[in-house]
Symmetry: C2
Subunit: 439 residues, 2 copies
Amino acid sequence: MRLYTVGPLLTDLYELTMAAAYHANGRFNEATFSTFIRSSGKRNFYVAAGLEDILDELEDFRFSKRDIEYLERKEVFPKDFLRYLKALRFTGTVRAMPEGTIFFPDEPVLEITAPVIEAQIIETLILNTIGFQTLIATKAARCVHAAADRPLIDFSLRRTQGHYAGIKVARSTYMAGFAGTSNVLAGKIYDIPISGTMAHSFVMTFESEFEAFKAYADTFPDNTVLLIDTYDTIFGARNAVKIAREMKKKGKQLIGVRLDSGDMAALSKTVRKILDDAGFPGVKIYASSGFDENKISEVLSKGAAIDAFGVGTKMGVSADAPYSDIVYKLVRFNDRNVRKLSPGKTTLAGKKQVFRKTAPDGRYAKDTIGLRDEAFDDAYPLLEKAMANGRRLQSSPTLEQLQGRFKKNFLLLDDRYKSFDETNTYPVTISPRLKALQK
Amino acid sequence: MRLYTVGPLLTDLYELTMAAAYHANGRFNEATFSTFIRSSGKRNFYVAAGLEDILDELEDFRFSKRDIEYLERKEVFPKDFLRYLKALRFTGTVRAMPEGTIFFPDEPVLEITAPVIEAQIIETLILNTIGFQTLIATKAARCVHAAADRPLIDFSLRRTQGHYAGIKVARSTYMAGFAGTSNVLAGKIYDIPISGTMAHSFVMTFESEFEAFKAYADTFPDNTVLLIDTYDTIFGARNAVKIAREMKKKGKQLIGVRLDSGDMAALSKTVRKILDDAGFPGVKIYASSGFDENKISEVLSKGAAIDAFGVGTKMGVSADAPYSDIVYKLVRFNDRNVRKLSPGKTTLAGKKQVFRKTAPDGRYAKDTIGLRDEAFDDAYPLLEKAMANGRRLQSSPTLEQLQGRFKKNFLLLDDRYKSFDETNTYPVTISPRLKALQK
């Protein structure tokens, strides 16, 4: 289900002024732009995400009457250019790594080949969409790795950069192996399992914590997780035991308790003991508050008795790396390979492909960035044709399918590249032919 | 103009499960929640933003038929609760600092008083909206201060956390004193001046930089800014001079050149000299690439000859502080003042007001967080009633008015609090009556 498409005004003005200059100068030639993320030293690998939204936007690409009227009012554009825009559709080709593919810095994740005006106008859309969703899917994959098979729930909506970001975070994290989200709207749009029970405010509206717990358990006898830290976590755990006993008498089971503050490793062990000693080894311990891949690793290394994590703010904005250096660069124009030489920002000319070689056990061994028309006996290409003549070539995969693909891919990435030590870089080389082309 | 309203499913599931438990237990009492940003040590001041979107959402607050059907399918909620939700509207009161108000950590920026179910469900909306827009308006204000009257343009759309974030960044930055945005859609929605000319790709599609410049100047004789660093900035500046001469012959003027890489302070001075020596002191120098408040300060302190800045990624995601610790806390329920005692997360009970005292010269001198019904002879209240019975009390201000208010406010904040030295904290105290209430 689409949230909505935004249309071609989602662009930087210079894309349109350039388009007008191409138009005025009769330049309608074919161009190829390549999208990749420059190495930042902060991520060893990335998880491709955002392609579905790109394809939706490109299929719907058209300037509305109001869009044209708005541009007209700016009194900047030649009239015949605006007439041209009115009829403009996206007619190009999209080659991309499917969502859920693991890729590495400097590898093209998407290439557009189209008449230059079309390819130019969509730059902002491509960067914004692939950049953000990939950022979050990547952060989520790091959390999944840290949690070592414990379920993770996306709790980030309240702190994401706007609500739309929150919806895309729910989708990207689910794709990257999360078990669900607290975000109800995202649950509805993408059919993601939704999760959540109570906040401190609920507990506080009652005269006592016990009364609050009881009221909740009465309402949701099959689905109660009690938040036990509003006043004192240990005291809260004892109240939870009382509730668990009352529920048991009615043939019901308390699902879990949630910790949301304090020393998580120590508290979780104490709470585990309280629950176990009272005869409730099946009551799960959930933890939230400030978790990201580093904090998850840290508490687990201290032996925390946590069964599942709510992962919020730091993941939802990718706090340690809130943007990537993603770029969309012209690599070929009118049958001429081109490159930029600005200091610190040079690019590689030519239409490209990424070839992946695997070890005998199936693990990823080495990638080669080559020319699109190269072929290697022992390596397979990662960029696939997703759109031709402006039309999607396949129907959309389900989010479950994407999660499945990601999980399969992630197993094939050696743990050393999943570690948070960014000096373990996966081997990526440039093919001799691509190298020769740069001269 | 509204982008759209999202509706009440933009919430965390636990808001709805708590609501169901309130409903099942007959708890419809009035609650007051207070929103504030906990001190993080990263910001000395904040610029309030996001209220307009909140008021739009609250006025439109209703669960659609499809929303209810979705919740029904989850098989979690009692049927009578879903019937109740179908008819639910927001009937409460919003008290808030107007957008553009300067405020400080721990000060309530917005308070909701409403029947507890309504107040609870909108928590996520309030935090997400006020949190993000305030974050960006604040970052923008810091950039505006650093630029010392040089115009700033928002260039962030390609790297914001989704396109909706980009639209809100354009609005928030314009409110906080930016001169415009590259974001065409935001320009259309909010009537913000839009700005932009060319990218490197444009230059690269031509056989030479000079030809590219000429084609552009021919298309936009009244509005040409040339990007001069695609191959070599100094060489590019000389090409720009040639174009400026050709334009002059036709009675036209080159508006400016843009630098996008390299040592900005040194390059801008060299380019300034090339332009001046050629008789073009009126051609402006624009600079972009990696600017935020720190880099703007740095290049200006080195004497950079830059007339205006394009400010992108780092501002657009507030990279040094990509989230704030914004919270929405129950402070009063059914005529009982309440507070939370979780370690490191305690709150102050009671409905509040913020009182600001100014010095004789009009500058902000000191704030007091007090009870809502307090009054001080020498200080004025900052929170205003914006909505009662679920209806807006005033028509929406224009964005120009908001920018005007911000600019006026910002003048009254002493420069020492605008500095990036976060140890200069503005004095905020708690009133004796509010303090007494906590016992």
